[in-house]
Symmetry: D2
Subunit: 368 residues, 4 copies
């Protein structure tokens, strides 16, 4: 099978190449890049020497020759290719934000600053978070020409972390959910930029886009679907930070609990009642994800760490409760470039084509 990537020379695109080059069902890669057309990808990524031999062509050739097309383009550039693939019945998996919202385009316009040019396509597209939408992805595959909006990296880690609490009614009915996330620098892409210049971001930690990051409506929308409260979405606050590591996202998610435990005044360490509730919730989480290959609910006492999912498609989740017993604190770790982008896109491809869901995604994370 020929896998095509439009925008193969960016970080997400190159990561897709790396994963697909080892995929048992993929026999050939067809790669495009506007900036580097005509060059071997390994000229730009010497790490791929002797591993990926493909020469970059243009996007049209990719659409022409591929059995599945991935797009790893800036926001706003995918619709035209989605349309072409859809009309040719070629599955199209978009890593940008263009197909993450299936409404009339209002949310996208409000946060991304432009309207849809092909509004009808969006009613056909599916949000590609398999652990939430697996059946919808399969259904779209059956119809042919599936268009998948691959989730954002932050929403992936946050939605997977919060889903059991929201779905099982562990969360209190109404409180605000705060997601405080830390991302590695590859999240900023391949283009050099002051914010990602080594001396500006190494040996530091800093927030950015506080109160205004575009992933906020995606997280909120996911929560409201999971809780089935579409008309009155829960209030969500999302704060991203940059930390000096290459890959990975760690999200710390604060979810108010249904609880009538009175707070100690002043605070005291966790009581055995809180401990018991923690064990109960941990059990619910473990059970909820027991059939999900890529989710690891960690044993109590083990903390999620970005390094332990590095280069893998796993999402590690650790479950905690605050000292008073009234707040569930979930930490969720993914590799932003794998489960948060290229790996999840391959997972979507596997579902669409009926391959084993972990085909090409069995990399075991290293300890260091």
């Amino acid at each position: 099978m020929v896998a095509g990537i439009i925008g193969a020379a960016g970080y997400a695109g190159s990561e897709l190449c790396r994963l697909l080059a080892s995929h048992a069902e993929v026999t050939e890669l067809k790669l495009s890049s506007t900036s580097f057309e005509g060059q071997p990808l390994a000229d730009i990524y010497p790490n791929l020497l002797k591993c990926v031999n493909a020469v970059l062509v243009n996007a049209e050739q990719v659409v022409e020759d591929s059995d599945v097309v991935f797009a790893a383009l800036p926001a706003g550039a995918s619709e035209a290719y989605a349309k072409q693939c859809h009309s040719k019945n070629i599955p199209f998996i978009d890593i940008s934000a263009d197909f993450r919202f299936d409404d009339d385009g209002e949310t996208y316009a409000a946060w991304y600053g432009k309207p849809y040019t092909e509004p009808q396509l969006h009613s056909e597209s599916v949000y590609g978070l398999p652990e939430m939408n697996r059946q919808k992805i399969k259904d779209a595959a059956c119809k042919g020409g599936a268009i998948i909006g691959n989730p954002g990296c932050y929403p992936t880690s946050i939605t997977l972390g919060a889903m059991p609490a929201l779905k099982l009614g562990i969360a209190a009915g109404d409180g605000t959910i705060i997601a405080d996330s830390a991302s590695g620098i590859t999240g900023g892409g391949r283009e050099p930029n002051r914010s990602y210049h080594f001396p500006e971001c190494s040996d530091s930690v800093s927030p950015y886009k506080v109160g205004c990051h575009r992933h906020t409506p995606e997280i909120s929308r996911n929560f409201s679907i999971i809780e089935n409260r579409l008309l009155k979405p829960r209030h969500v606050i999302f704060t991203p930070h940059l930390v000096p590591m290459n890959r990975g996202i760690l999200s710390t998610i604060y979810i108010p609990l249904k609880s009538d435990i009175a707070h100690s005044t002043p605070p005291r360490p966790q009581s055995s009642t809180v401990q018991k509730n923690l064990e109960r919730v941990h059990g619910l989480y473990t059970d909820f994800y027991k059939n999900e290959y890529f989710i690891r609910v960690l044993p109590l006492g083990t903390y999620a760490a970005a390094s332990r999912v590095r280069q893998s498609n796993y999402c590690d989740i650790s479950v905690h409760i605050d000292q008073s017993g009234s707040m569930l604190i979930i930490t969720s770790a993914i590799d932003n470039m794998v489960k948060g982008a290229a790996g999840q896109a391959v997972q979507n491809m596997n579902i669409i084509f009926g391959f084993k869901e972990n085909t090409g995604l069995q990399a075991i994370p290293a300890a260091f």
Copy 2:
């Protein structure tokens, strides 16, 4: 003036040496260490070669010979030295947690696992956060033999970040305050340990002690004093994380606002009403700290970053509001070893002795 440090060979102790060695009013250092008695400090810290020549002696000699005594010891080891200094009218500044609570010892016992051995001393001690307690520190100095409990690193960053909102009534009367913090690895001290072993913590980010960190009651206590609600302290949640940098703490603090703005459904970018409120709150913060040398309320649009206060005694604060307008989000950055430990201790010494408060603390942070 002779400055003494008990426990000079730990990280906080060595940082105190570095600062005091350049202090215009300090003519001599008297340093002790149990493990390295008899050795020059520069044998253990070659960075101090030609800069600090003192040889490590025992604690008794430090108490004997000093005009002010700092203790940088593990929890539970300071009371005996505090007693000696107090009885000899020597100001005693303790960097451990032993004198951060001035109650009857219940809170300390609950979180640190041991009772006070000298309970009467604690009623005399002062919590040494100058921006909150400057007058109390001065009063204690007047009486002689002041005992100062130097604040914890996390509580320093979090209290300074939240104080204006709490003091000026910007915060809603009752909601939970969440402080989500990231610390550099020096916070773990000088002793090698799996958690701080380079391959285990580099290129990663991970939470620790979620729901059970000992700084929680200190933060809660500070908030209740600032808001003057001692009997019913606000519910506080504190989550620390380790990030791969040497120094620094960045705290992101979520403070519910008095607000009747209705949330958008689904979320939309900040309205101009929210923007205006942000400007108003930013103005209040700026005004609140206008006379504080070490606090920098950053211009709107600039984010606090751990690197920009590195090796300085500054606390940088940036003010944000979430998209809905209902949550104040403060980020506060300090150097955990300076404003979070040794620098603040020197600031306390300056207040006690009537020196200019920034003496020896005028280091300008470097850009990188």
Copy 3:
């Protein structure tokens, strides 16, 4: 086939587990650890959760149950296990230094401070650098009960970098060869230690064991075999440095050239004559390694970088000549834990068992 690892809980051992768990010919892992016997390996390495389920047993069971035994132990502990395996005709691949020298033990004793306890075994053992000794490894495999001394990490990078120059007579007949290497911190192993404590080694670079590192005689011995000058080995200088990265070794190797080019006085940029010689030598290197799967001689103008071989078994080599034309400067990059340890051990296993040499070692290095 059952693969056994004695010392599975160290860094090299855990890396072996990771590689062997994905190896197509390995059906079961048998792992031992003295410190953690009875615990699942994934308790100690949570990155292996759901990936490696084996529980740590004792070394005897490993020898009993395995078809091949790897030892990842401190120097001096492998001989007893080698003897057992040899007598049972089980191939034994030793990651320590115990079987890297096949002489009478004098060199080992001089540098490692202890004599061989089983001298006869060493005459049977083979130094397991496949690109240098492939046939010998195969021959040992034919005899049964092969004992392989897996090369040191530094000697691997340095020998592979210098081999074509020495073998093809590019190097001048007599000059000193200097190898200046930089290693990631995992080279120091899993045990916490001041030198590898994050605050001591991050944001820095420092040499260690200058003029006295134990890998020096291994490098010298390799050179003398390659050049066939056993009686008068070339003078070798080896200087290791620690750099703040997890994995990887980059060696810069200075090899005097046969050259009658006169030096400019003062130095001038490279002439076209030097350029041409560089192209010639680059061609010889490329040709020398053209059939070696794991060696990538980089195109002229591309520099070897530790990050580009991360988590792979590749050795990247870049070829340079100084401005005067009289010194060949080779830079050679490997992952110290893969080609420098566990990966090379698996490569040796593949050769011994007649598997395709890259089985289980086809990981494509990521760009970041």
Copy 4:
């Protein structure tokens, strides 16, 4: 006294601002920047908020108003300002390479690709390495309108490391000297660039410009002056590497020794003869620099480390000999932005104006 900086918004310029803002003799800063004219420097460097209030003006105003002028500009831009200052008798300290060569411009043209436009100025300029040229700097100051070519960062570390061996005749008369250096990323300046993009350089180490770095002729020239062999300079090889740290250079310098010790065959650990020679050479180094405030010859057994001179003007030197006794191995550490640029420029200013040489340069390096 008013200190002016042309090009204050680059990394070296901003570091100069930081140092001069704390300098006891400097009462005002006059700063220029072409890109940011009209903005406060602290807008661009928020770390300087409340510390440096100056607004950026144009270069003409700097020359007009200053008592000393520093230039921190790209190569080829300093001559015009040097001419203006010289004619007005204002000392001019140039951080670029424009005044590092006082010959007829041939070397500069060969390596920097352009001729001098003001050749006569170069015969008046002095190479500003105080430990080598202190008297010449003073002499130029006496004449008025001194023009100082501040040394390159690599040549500073390498020349200081090799000087005693060359000056005292410890080095063998003729062999090649190899300097293998590692630099922090700030060496690449403030402009974002693929090579300094965090994901491309973190967690890695890589050489660059092997055999063709512009600092090579500067190093060679220094050596030939020190050894007084101008007509037949020693052959010098210089290889720079990038390591993932912000600041610092560590150079490992290989200097052949006058030695008739026969190499062991094969190599053996250092004999007591070699040890004794090491002690002798270490004594000579210590003595050579005994009056130099900024040079620290480390005790035997302590290795130079980039982190231990961070943010200071120190050069740390450690002395080693290889196992055979025939090669002196010096490691030399500086902060590339302080002793390698801005700090050395201030040191030159202090000499010119007759201030104590360490005025404004007494920062004690921190341990972490």
